[in-house]
C-alpha cells in the first residue's frame, strides 16, 4: 500500500484519478504543478490507512468546487485550501489530525494532497464518493449522516464564507450559488468528523487505487489494450470489482446543452469491429449517467461509465467529446458503500431523472448473458 507521497507520485495520482471520474472531475495542470512544488518545498506527504489514525483525531475533508476552466485562468496558490481548513478548525474549536478526500476523481485527488503538504498533515487513504459527482452532498458522508457544515469556502483573494446549517442539502445549495458570486471557483472544507465516523462512512483505499491506476497507465504508453488491461487488473483487485468492456465504436452524434454551467446531453455511438451495428446512447450530466444499447440499459450511475479514446487510452471527459472519435466504453462497478440504499437515495437514478431503479452492471450483464445463453468467464480480450 502506498504510504508516502513524493513529488514523482503526483502525476500518477492525477492520471489515475481521471479514470475514476466517469467523465467528470475536471483537469488542471496548475494544480498538479502546485502540488509538486508544495511537496518539494515542504516535504513528502503521509498517506494513512484509516486504521492507523488515532481514535481521538479530527479529520477534515477538503476540495475545490466550481469551474476548473475559470480556475485555470484565475489561478489558485494552494494556500486557499489551508485557509479553509484552519477556518473550520477555528469554528469547531478543534485541530485537524488529518485531511481526507471528498471526491477521488479529477482535480480533487490532488487538493487533499496539496493541503496536506502545505499544512504538514497526513492524508487519509479514503474519500466520500469513489468517483466524481456534481454536488458536494453526493457523498457517503452525507448518506450516513455526517453533517456537511460548518462549510468554509474561499477564493484566491482569501475572501471566505462560512455556511452553517443543519440540513446538508440546504448547505450545498447555498454553496453552489455562492461559488459563481465568488468568481467561479472556491476552495472548501467541510464534513469535519472524528476518526470513528470516517471509518464508518468513507470508502477506503481510493487514493492508493488512483495511484496504482496512474502508474499502470503511464507504463502503458498510450496503448489502449494495455491501458484496459491495467484498469481490469487494478479495479478487479479493489473494492470496485471487475469492469465490463461494454462496447467499442465511433461517436456519430453529440447533443450537448449548457444549463447553468452544467453540461448535459447525450452522445450516440455506433459499434465497430466485433460490435458493428450496435447502437449505443450515453446520457450525461457533467458525468456520464446512463449507458444503453437501444432500449436496454447496460450501465447506470452510480456505477462508473468510463469512455476511453481508442487511440491513446486516455479517458474522455464530457467536455472533450468530439464527433468521429473512436472510443471504448467500460462499465466499472461502484464501491459497495455507494450502492447502499441510503447512498442511492442521494445519487441513484431518481436523482438524474431516470425512471429505472438502480441495477448494478454485473446483474445487467448477467441478464443479457442469460438471454444469449453465453457464459462469460473473461468478459474482455
Amino acid at each position: 500500500m502506498k504510504q508516502t507521497i513524493i513529488e514523482q507520485d503526483v502525476s500518477q495520482f492525477a492520471c489515475g484519478a481521471k479514470y475514476l471520474g466517469a467523465g467528470g472531475g475536471g483537469s488542471s495542470n496548475i494544480l498538479e504543478l502546485l502540488t509538486k512544488r508544495a511537496i518539494r518545498e515542504h516535504g513528502p506527504v503521509q498517506l494513512q490507512h484509516p486504521f492507523d489514525v488515532k481514535e481521538t483525531e479530527w479529520i477534515i475533508p477538503v476540495g475545490i468546487m466550481g469551474s476548473t476552466t475559470i480556475m485555470n485562468e484565475k489561478i489558485p496558490t494552494g494556500w486557499e485550501l489551508v485557509e479553509v481548513l484552519r477556518a473550520v478548525e477555528k469554528e469547531k474549536e478543534i485541530r485537524a489530525g488529518a485531511v481526507a478526500g471528498i471526491e477521488i476523481a479529477g482535480i480533487n485527488v490532488l487538493t487533499p494532497i496539496l493541503t496536506a503538504a502545505l499544512a504538514r498533515l497526513p492524508v487519509i487513504d479514503c474519500d466520500g464518493m469513489g468517483r466524481a459527482f456534481t454536488g458536494i452532498h453526493m457523498t457517503t458522508y452525507h448518506a450516513f449522516d455526517i453533517s456537511l457544515a460548518p462549510l468554509v469556502m474561499t477564493d484566491e483573494k482569501r475572501k471566505s464564507i462560512l455556511i452553517q446549517s443543519d440540513n446538508n442539502e440546504e448547505a450545498e445549495c447555498i454553496a453552489r450559488n455562492t461559488v459563481m458570486n465568488m468568481g467561479g471557483w472556491a476552495a472548501f472544507a467541510c464534513y469535519a468528523m472524528k476518526t470513528k465516523h470516517m471509518r464508518e462512512t468513507s470508502i477506503y483505499h481510493t487514493f492508493s487505487l488512483a495511484w496504482r491506476l496512474g502508474r499502470g497507465v503511464k507504463k502503458a504508453h498510450e496503448d489502449i489494450h494495455q491501458v484496459v488491461r491495467v484498469l481490469m487488473e487494478e479495479l478487479s483487485n479493489s473494492v470496485y470489482g471487475t469492469p465490463r468492456l461494454v462496447t467499442k465504436g465511433k461517436i456519430v452524434e453529440i447533443y450537448c446543452d449548457m444549463k447553468e454551467g452544467q453540461l448535459s446531453g447525450s452522445l450516440f455511438l455506433e459499434g465497430r469491429g466485433e460490435y458493428t451495428a450496435e447502437q449505443w446512447e450515453i446520457l450525461f450530466c457533467n458525468e456520464y449517467v446512463l449507458c444503453k444499447q437501444e432500449e436496454n440499459v447496460r450501465v447506470m450511475s452510480p456505477d462508473l461509465i468510463c469512455v476511453l479514446d481508442a487511440d491513446t487510452g486516455h479517458p474522455v471527459q464530457v467536455e472533450e467529446l468530439e464527433k468521429n472519435r473512436n472510443v471504448w466504453v467500460l462499465g466499472i462497478p461502484s464501491p459497495p458503500l455507494v450502492r447502499t440504499s441510503k447512498m442511492l437515495e442521494v445519487v441513484g437514478p431518481e436523482t438524474y431523472g431516470s425512471p429505472f431503479s438502480f441495477l448494478p452492471v454485473e446483474s445487467l450483464y448477467e441478464q443479457m448473458d442469460a438471454k444469449r445463453g453465453v457464459g462469460h468467464a473473461t468478459a474482455w480480450d
Binding site: M1, H49, P50, F51, F144, D145, I146, T195, K196, H197, R199, E200, T201, Y204, H205, S208, R212, E233, S236, N237, S238, V239, G241, R272, G273, E274, T276, A277, P335, P336, L337, R339, T340, S341, K342
Partner: protein
C-alpha cells in the same frame, strides 16, 4: 451525371456495402484475389489473427493459414468446405479451424475467393483441460499490501520454469490458489492441474491414489486398473497439498519417483515415465518434523527447490478491508441481501483480531455477519463469538443512527444458544413489528416457521415471568 461518375458512385456504394456486410458476419472471413493475396478481411478476422486489416492485406494466404491445400484450391477456383486448417496468428500461435471456400469468377476466369472459417469442433488440448480445469489465476489473489504484491511478483516470475515449488503458510491462506495461479501462468497451462490432499485421504488409499494400480492387484481393484494422480497430471502440474501429512514410507517412495521421474503402479511391473511439474504445500513446520524424524530430510530438499511463503492474514492487515468487502459482495448476491456497513467498533475488532483461520475464516465471518445482522450497520454484537471475546467490556458506542438494541445485555463472555436465539428473535420483532404481518416477516427472516416463532415467544415470556 456522366457515366464514369455514375460507375464510380456505384462502385463506392458497393464497396461500402461489402465492408458493412463483412463486419456483420460473426466468424472470420477473408477475401483473396486469384493468386491468394489477401484483399479484404473482416473485424472478427482481425481479432483471430491479432492483426489489423491493413497488415493482413499485405499478406498471402499461405502466410496466415496452414494446411488444406488452400492456395491450390483458390487458384483452381474450386469450392470446398469443412477443410481442417490451422490459422497462424501474429504471435505465431496456431489455432484449429475449419475452412469453407467460395470462388469468385469474372468473365469466366478465376478472380478470387471468399474464405470463411469456423472453429474446429474438437481440440485435443481442450479436452484434457476440461477434465482438470484451473479455477484460479493471479488475478484471484486479492490484496495490495506490499507483502502480497511481492509474493505475486515472485510467483509469476518462477511460474514459467519447471522447478518444484514448496508452498508454506498457515491454513486458510490460499496455498492452492497460488498453486493454481502458478499452473495457469506456467508453460504447462494447457495441461491438467491435478490436486491431491494428503491429509484428506486415508493412509491406506494414499499410495494407490498417487501411483495408481493394476487390475487384480488387490481385492476390489477395478477392471483394467486405475491411473494414479501422477499419470493423470501428465503434461501438467501435480499439486500435493498437506505434504506434511504424508506417511514416512510414502515419503520414501515419492522421493524415488521425483529422482527417477518414473512411477510403478501398485501391482504393476512396468515403470511409467512421468511428465509433471510438482508443487507441494504444507502448513506444518517441516524443519521441526525433520528433527523429530517425522519427515525425511532428503525429500525436503528435493521439494524445497523454490520455497514460497504465503503470509498469514495478520501480517497483511491492509488487505482485510478489501477481502471483507469482496466476500460480502459475493454473499450478498447469493443471499439476495444488501451489503452491510461496518461500525467503527466492529471494524476495529476485525482489524485487531489475529485471524488464525486466515482468509477462509474471513469468508466465514462475513457469511455469519450477513446472515445475522438485520440492520444495515454491523455492530460488535453481530460478530461471531471469537471476535467478540476480545473485549466484551467495551459497549458499542452509538453512532448518529440508533443501533438495534439488544434486549439482553449479557455481561458474560459467551451467550448460550438459547440466549442468542432470544436476542435474535427480539431483534427481528423490533425490526418488523409485532403485528401478525410483522411476525410473519420476522419468522421468514429468521428462517423458522411461524409456529416455531410462537413457541419460542411463549418460552421467552415464560422465562421473563420467572426471572421477575
Amino acid at each position: 451525371m456522366q457515366p464514369p461518375e455514375k460507375l464510380d458512385a456505384e462502385k463506392k456504394r458497393l464497396l461500402q456495402e461489402v465492408q458493412v456486410l463483412l463486419s456483420m458476419v460473426p466468424v472470420p472471413v477473408v477475401v483473396t484475389d486469384a493468386l491468394g493475396n489477401i484483399l479484404h478481411a473482416n473485424a472478427v478476422a482481425e481479432n483471430v489473427w491479432k492483426r489489423s486489416q491493413i497488415a493482413l492485406t499485405n499478406k498471402h494466404i499461405r502466410e496466415i493459414v496452414e494446411g488444406g491445400e488452400i492456395e491450390a484450391l483458390i487458384k483452381q477456383g474450386k469450392p470446398a468446405h469443412k477443410i481442417p486448417v490451422r490459422i497462424k496468428d501474429a504471435a505465431n500461435f496456431l489455432h484449429m479451424y475449419e475452412c469453407r471456400i467460395r470462388p469468385l469468377f469474372v468473365y469466366r476466369k478465376v478472380a478470387g475467393a471468399v474464405l470463411q472459417f469456423t472453429a474446429a469442433p474438437y481440440a485435443e488440448h481442450k479436452e484434457e483441460r476440461r477434465k482438470h480445469p484451473v479455477r484460479y489465476t493471479f488475478s484471484d489473489i486479492r490484496g495490495n499490501s506490499d507483502i502480497i504484491v511481492s509474493l505475486k511478483k515472485q510467483s509469476a516470475h518462477i511460474a514459467p520454469t519447471d522447478s518444484t515449488i514448496l508452498i508454506r503458510g498457515e491454513s486458510g491462506t490460499g496455498k492452492e490458489v497460488f498453486a493454481q495461479a502458478i499452473h495457469a501462468t506456467s508453460m504447462r497451462k494447457d495441461g491438467p492441474f491435478v490436486a491431491l490432499n494428503c491429509a484428506a485421504i486415508p493412509e491406506a488409499l494414499l499410495e494407490s491414489e498417487l501411483f495408481g494400480y493394476e487390475e487384480g492387484s488387490f481385492t476390489g481393484a477395478k477392471k483394467g486398473g486405475k491411473e494414479g494422480r501422477f499419470e493423470l497430471a501428465r503434461g501438467g502440474t501435480l499439486f500435493l497439498d498437506e505434504i506434511g501429512d504424508m506417511p514416512l514410507f510414502l515419503q520414501a517412495k515419492l522421493l524415488r519417483v521425483l529422482q527417477e521421474r518414473r512411477i510403478e503402479r501398485i501391482g504393476g511391473t512396468d515403470t511409467i515415465p512421468i511428465d509433471v511439474r510438482v508443487i507441494a504445500a504444507t502448513h506444518k513446520n517441516l524443519e521441526a518434523m525433520i528433527v523429530d524424524g517425522r519427515f525425511r530430510e532428503d525429500l525436503y530438499f528435493r521439494l524445497n527447490v523454490i520455497p514460497l511463503y504465503v503470509p498469514p492474514l495478520r501480517n497483511r492487515k491492509e488487505d482485510l478491508y478489501d477481502l471483507i468487502h469482496y466476500f460480502m459482495k459475493r454473499c450478498s448476491k447469493r443471499l439476495g441481501k444488501e451489503q452491510k456497513r461496518l461500525s467503527s467498533q466492529a471494524l476495529k475488532r476485525l482489524y485487531d483480531y489475529h485471524w488464525p483461520g486466515n482468509i477462509r475464516e474471513v469468508e466465514n465471518v462475513v457469511e455469519y455477519i450477513m446472515n445475522l445482522e438485520i440492520g444495515e450497520l454491523v455492530t460488535v454484537t453481530s460478530l461471531p463469538a471469537s471476535l467478540r471475546e476480545i473485549d466484551e467490556k467495551i459497549m458499542p458506542k452509538l453512532t448518529k443512527e440508533p443501533p438495534v438494541e439488544t434486549v439482553h445485555d449479557n455481561p458474560r463472555e459467551i451467550l448460550t444458544i438459547d440466549e442468542k436465539e432470544t436476542e435474535l428473535i427480539l431483534k427481528a420483532l423490533q425490526r418488523f413489528g409485532r403485528s401478525t404481518e410483522g411476525k410473519k416477516k420476522a419468522a421468514a427472516s429468521l428462517g423458522i416457521s411461524i409456529a416455531t416463532l410462537y413457541r419460542r415467544l411463549q418460552k421467552i415470556r415464560y422465562e421473563k415471568k420467572l426471572s421477575k
